[in-house]
C-alpha cells in the first residue's frame, strides 16, 4: 500500500463534501425533519474539519472546539425537535411547502 498516505487534506475534502451534501439537503428536501438532519450533518462536517486540522497542526484548540460544537448541537436538537413536533401536531405534516400561512 505504498504511496497511499492519508493526509489531513483527505479529511478536509471529506468534510467539505459532507458540508456540501448538508447544504444541498437543506435546499432540496422539503421535509422539516430531513432539513434538520442535513443541518446536523453540516455541524458534524465542521467537527471533522476541526479535529483533522487540530491533529495536523498539533493544536489542541480544534478538538476542544468540536466538543463545544457537539454540546451546542445537542441543545439545538432539543429545541428544534420540539418546534417540529409542535408544527406536526397542529398541521399533521412536517412539509415546509405546506407552511404558507405567512406569505413570502
Amino acid at each position: 500500500m505504498d504511496g497511499l498516505e492519508v493526509t489531513a487534506s483527505w479529511y478536509l475534502i471529506l468534510a467539505a463534501a459532507l458540508f456540501a451534501i448538508g447544504v444541498a439537503g437543506v435546499v432540496v428536501r422539503r421535509n422539516a425533519l430531513v432539513m434538520f438532519m442535513s443541518i446536523e450533518l453540516m455541524l458534524n462536517s465542521v467537527n471533522l474539519t476541526f479535529v483533522a486540522v487540530s491533529k495536523d497542526l498539533g493544536l489542541i484548540e480544534g478538538q476542544v472546539a468540536s466538543l463545544f460544537v457537539m454540546v451546542v448541537a445537542a441543545a439545538e436538537v432539543t429545541v428544534g425537535l420540539a418546534i417540529i413536533v409542535a408544527v406536526f401536531r397542529k398541521r399533521s405534516s412536517a412539509n415546509v411547502d405546506e407552511l404558507a400561512e405567512l406569505k413570502g
Binding site: F19, T49, V64, A75, E76, K90, E101, L102, G104
Partner: protein, 493 residues
Amino acid sequence: MGNASFIAVAFEVVLLTGALVTILVGVVAGRNRSVWGPLVGMFFLLSAVAGLWQWLEVQADGGGLYFSTQNLPIMRSPMVVMDGFSSFAAVILGLVGFVAFLGSWDLQVRLGKRAVEFSSLMLLGVAGLHMMAATPNLVVVFIGLETASIAFYVLAGFTRTVHGSDEAALKYFLLGSLASAMFLYGVALTFAATGSLSLYGENSILNFLSSHIVSQPGILLAGMSLMLVGLMFKISAAPFHQWAPDVYQGAPNAALGLLVAGVKIAGFAAIARIFVEGMASQIDTWAPIVAVIATISMIVGVVMALVQDDIKRLLAYSGVSHAGYILTAIVAGSGGYSAMWFYLATYAFMVVGAFTVVSMVSGPGSSATSIDSLKGLGKRNPEAAWLMAVLMLGMAGIPFFTGFVGKVLAFTSAANADYVWLVVIGVVTTVIGLAYYLRVILTMFSSDEGVELATLDVSMSARFAVIIGATVTVVFGVVPWPLLDVVRNALPL
C-alpha cells in the same frame, strides 16, 4: 493562575443568575406576576449597571483580555475581552432588554404561568448576545450566537397555537441553524488556514496573517466568506433576509422588539470585531463584498417595504434597509465605529418602541397586523399615534431625529473611505424610504367618515416602553453630542 476576573463577565453573570432565579421564583410564585415581574426588570437594569461598571473600569484602566493562562495549552488564548466596545454593548443591551421587557408585559399577562419561561428566555438570550460582542475567540462567538438564537427560536414560537407562530418558529429555526452552521464552518476553515481561533493575543489570526504568507489563500477566503454569510443572515442583510418578514409576521408582536433590536446590536458588534479588528489586514478583500451587500440591502429593503400591506413586514424590510445603512459604516473600517454604535444604539430603541405600538393596536400575541389596522389611531389613542409618528420620522431620517444623525455619521465615514457611490445610493434610498414611513403616519391620522371609534386603552408598561423609545429618538436627534462623546470612546482593544 491565569487572569480570571469577575468584572469582565459581570454582565453575563447578572443575566444568567437572573434567568435561574426567575425560573425558581416562578416555581414558587407561579401565576403571581407581581412577584417575579419586578425581579426580571430589576435584573435587566442590574445588567445595564454591570455594563456601566465595566465601562467606567475600561475608561479608567483601558480594559484587557481575560481568562487565559500559559499553564494550560488549551487556555493560551484569552476567552473574554473587556473594552469600550464590549462594555458599551453591555449597557445598550441591558437597557434595550429592559425596555423590550416592558413592551412585552401585556403578552406575559396573557401567557399566564408560561410567562416565567418567557422572561427567563429573554434574560438568557441577552446574555448570549453580549457574549458575541465580548469575546476574542471565534468558537465563543458561535456559542453566544447559538445561546441567543436558541432562546429566540422559542420566543418566536411562544404563541404556537395561534396564527402562524409555529410556522415562524420553524422557519426561524431552520434558516437560523443553517446560518449558524455556515458561520461555524467559516470558523473551522479560518482555523485551518491560520491555525488560530483568537482575534487578540500573541497567537491571533491577525498576527499570523502579518507574519506568514497563507499557504492556502482559498481556504482563508472561503472561511471569511462563510463567516460573513452566517452573520449577514442574522442581521437580515439582503440577499440573506428572506426569513425576516415571515418570522416577524408570525412571531408574537410583543416579543419582536428584543428579537430584532438585540440580534442587530450583537450581530454588528461581532462583524466589527471579527472583520474590522481581527481581519484588519484583509480589508481590501472583505470591504468590497460588504459594500455590495450594503447596496443590495438598501435597495431591496426600501423597494420591498413600499409594497407591503402588513406593518410588521414593512418594519422587517425597513430593518433590511437599516442593516444596509449600518453596513456602510462597517465598510469604512475602524473609522466607522462611532457611526455604527450611534446608529445601533438609537435604532434599537426606535424598533422596540415601534413593535410595542404594533402590539398595542393589534394585541400582544401573533395576529394579523395590516397597516389599515392603524387607521384612526390618531383619534383612538392620540398619545400612541404621536409617539409612533416620532418613531417613524426617526427611522426615516428626518433632521432633528436620531435616524438623521446616524445616517449622516454612517455616510460620512463611508465617504471618508472613498465609497462615494455607496453614499449616493444611501441618500437616494433614504429619500425613497420616506414614502412608506409617511404612509404609516398618514394612515394613523386618517379615519373613515361616520365610523364610531372606540378609545384604545393601553397598559402603563407598554406606554412606558414607547415613551422611552420616542424620547431617545428626539433627545439624541436634537442634542446628539453627549451620546457622540460616549460612542467615540466605545472602541475595541
